[in-house]
């Protein structure tokens, strides 16, 4: 297998006496979708937050394209090409969908110490931002305030914003959460379309989506990876079935 885009080794995060992630190791290859599944409270979101640089790790290493991310801020990691979406969408609710994507384009183009020209009339921002919205099937909602978008559209916009950064890797924290069946299928199709272009670490409860998308699956229980393998292997693994059936909410 080629050099992994993301490799994490022995990741640990303690909250008081609780181990949220416990010696977690996994890797994601180029263009691969690696799903991270597990019951609620298994430490999936904690792992994402550690990789994204929002939570400091108590021990372990995170390598992105061979580079140790230790000591890099969340923003610095994003600039290296590590994009992410949030489980509960974090968007600029007062602004339009276009504004949200345009800010991402702006961030990608370099510093924003430009004080005079109107950013909303800047063709260099609007053009690429519209293109990004079109890719996420949101072009007709460009001038809508985010607060007025539906939940599904929030999720799509989250993805559009992350993609507008031109990431080489995406950390997706439950992109299907709260979506109806149709919206889920639509999101799955969008992610399917990206497969092979960008590596993804996919945290998801929707098993249909996981097994439709993932190249490999890691199962997390109480912060520990109890199994990693191809989707069909995981599906058949008795230990996984036991953990899921007893803890289960999936």
């Amino acid at each position: 297998m080629a050099e992994p885009v993301l490799r994490i080794e022995g990741l640990v995060k303690r909250f008081g006496g609780l181990l949220a992630t416990n010696e977690l190791s996994l890797d994601v290859g180029p263009g691969e979708i690696h799903a991270l599944i597990g019951p609620n409270g298994a430490g999936k979101s904690t792992a994402i937050a550690q990789i994204a640089g929002e939570l400091p790790s108590d021990s372990g290493r995170i390598l992105f394209e061979g580079r140790d991310l230790a000591g890099l801020s969340g923003a610095a990691r994003a600039r290296l090409g590590l994009g992410r979406t949030f489980q509960v969408p974090r968007l600029l609710e007062d602004d339009t969908a276009l504004d949200n994507v345009a800010l991402a384009i702006q961030a990608r183009q370099g510093h924003s110490f430009r004080f005079w020209a109107d950013a909303r009339r800047d063709a260099g921002l609007r053009g690429p931002a519209m293109a990004a919205l079109e890719r996420a099937a949101l072009a007709d909602r460009a001038e809508t305030r985010v607060a007025d978008l539906s939940h599904g559209e929030h999720k799509q916009l989250e993805l559009a914003v992350a993609l507008a950064l031109g990431p080489r890797m995406l950390l997706l924290d439950e992109p299907m959460a709260g979506l109806g069946a149709t919206e889920s299928r639509q999101m799955t199709a969008i992610l399917q379309g990206l497969k092979g272009q960008v590596a993804m670490l996919l945290v998801e409860h929707d098993m249909d989506a996981v097994f439709a998308l993932a190249d490999r699956v890691t199962v997390l229980v109480y912060g520990r990876a109890i199994a990693t393998g191809l989707p069909e292997e995981i599906r058949a693994d008795p230990e996984v079935r036991a953990a899921y059936l007893t803890e289960g909410d999936a």
């Binding site: 949030f86 602004d95 800010l103 961030a107």
Partner: protein, 342 residues
């Protein structure tokens, strides 16, 4: 009263034109005021109106960080006071003909003293902002307040410049042969300064920089996930705001020909915040209205009773408690202004 921080999307050009015409009209009307008021026998009101304009500059500058960036700074009077003192101290050295620290000659020139005031206030904001912005939320409020108090005590201890009693300027600065002692002239200078500062702010809040500030206010974690470090943007906004406050202080020093530590008092910072909130957080002209409102209210209340603060206090509490949404509710919609971390 308050309007949404930023209107979404692009407004049609026709609207934009109409807005500009209305603005120009308002400016002309305001500029005519000092000539109209004396005809109505209200000469004294010109001075009051000038104070409103100068406070409007200070409030608008605070609004850049409080309203657009969501930084609750409780020490804004510090930069206002520093600006005033720069004008006062330069004047004192000009009058005594002794260079400051043996190096910097004093001046009574408006075009030297006021820019110097703006620059020095900006430097003070750079240093104190760099430290304060290492924290957030309630610590930030406490620290900005504490640093402002530090500068207050610094000026109190400067016996050479009047200490507690402050510094009197015998004359206002000289500006191109204009007589700043004349109420109408001072008014027009203040109006011009306010118009320029608002123009600057209106560009800044729409610029790329302004978009980042707005993002930081709405959701700082989102901005970080975009690869933007918030700190330098917050600091730059803090400095621009400090410079605006310094400009206001320099103008006030010229108007009252007096500077004192009271200009840096923490209650002054509180008043600036009230102006911003009254007028509507995060809107360009809100602070102007807020400043006019508060100064006007104080003037009216003070005419009615000596104990006007006894009534203003509960009024403020009521406004905060019950005028929800119209006021800071606008800000706190999400992870907004130092929103309680619960």
């Amino acid at each position: 009263m308050a309007r949404a921080a930023v209107e979404p999307g692009l407004r049609p050009l026709a609207w934009e034109m109409r807005g500009r015409v209305a603005l120009a009209l308002a400016f002309v009307l305001l500029a005519a005021l000092p000539f109209v008021l004396p005809l109505l026998g209200a000469q004294a009101v010109v001075g009051l109106a000038t104070r409103m304009l100068i406070y409007a500059i200070a409030a608008a500058s605070l609004n850049l960080i409080l309203g657009y960036a969501g930084l609750v700074s409780f020490g804004h009077a510090a930069y206002y006071g520093v600006g005033a003192y720069v004008v006062g101290i330069l004047y004192a050295h000009w009058a005594s003909d002794e260079p400051l620290l043996g190096l910097v000659p004093g001046t009574d020139q408006f075009l030297l003293a006021v820019p110097a005031a703006v620059i020095v206030s900006g430097l003070a904001a750079l240093v104190l902002g760099a430290l304060s912005l290492r924290t957030s939320g309630v610590q930030f409020i406490m620290i900005t307040l504490a640093f402002a108090q530090m500068l207050f005590f610094l000026f109190v201890s400067l016996d050479h410049y009047g200490g507690d009693d402050g510094l009197i300027m015998r004359r206002p600065n000289a500006l191109l042969g204009l007589n700043l002692r004349d109420d109408a002239t001072m008014y027009l200078v203040a109006l011009g300064a306010l118009a320029l500062y608002l123009l600057l702010l209106s560009r800044i809040v729409r610029s790329r920089f302004g978009r980042v500030l707005s993002g930081i206010r709405q959701d700082e974690r989102r901005v970080i996930a975009l690869g933007i470090e918030p700190y330098p943007y917050k600091l730059a906004a803090f400095v621009i705001a400090g410079m605006g406050a310094g400009l206001a202080g320099a103008l006030m020093a010229n108007m009252t020909r007096f500077v004192s530590p009271d200009m840096l008092h923490w209650t002054k910072s509180g008043e600036f915040m009230i102006m911003v909130i009254l007028g509507g957080v995060g809107s360009l002209f809100g602070p102007v209205l807020g400043a006019a409102c508060l100064i006007g209210l104080e003037y009216v209340l003070a005419g009615l009773t000596e104990d006007w603060q006894f009534y203003l206090g509960p009024l403020l509490v009521l406004v905060v408690l019950f005028a929800r949404g119209g006021l800071s509710g606008l800000l706190g919609r999400r992870a907004g202004v130092g929103g309680s971390d619960g």
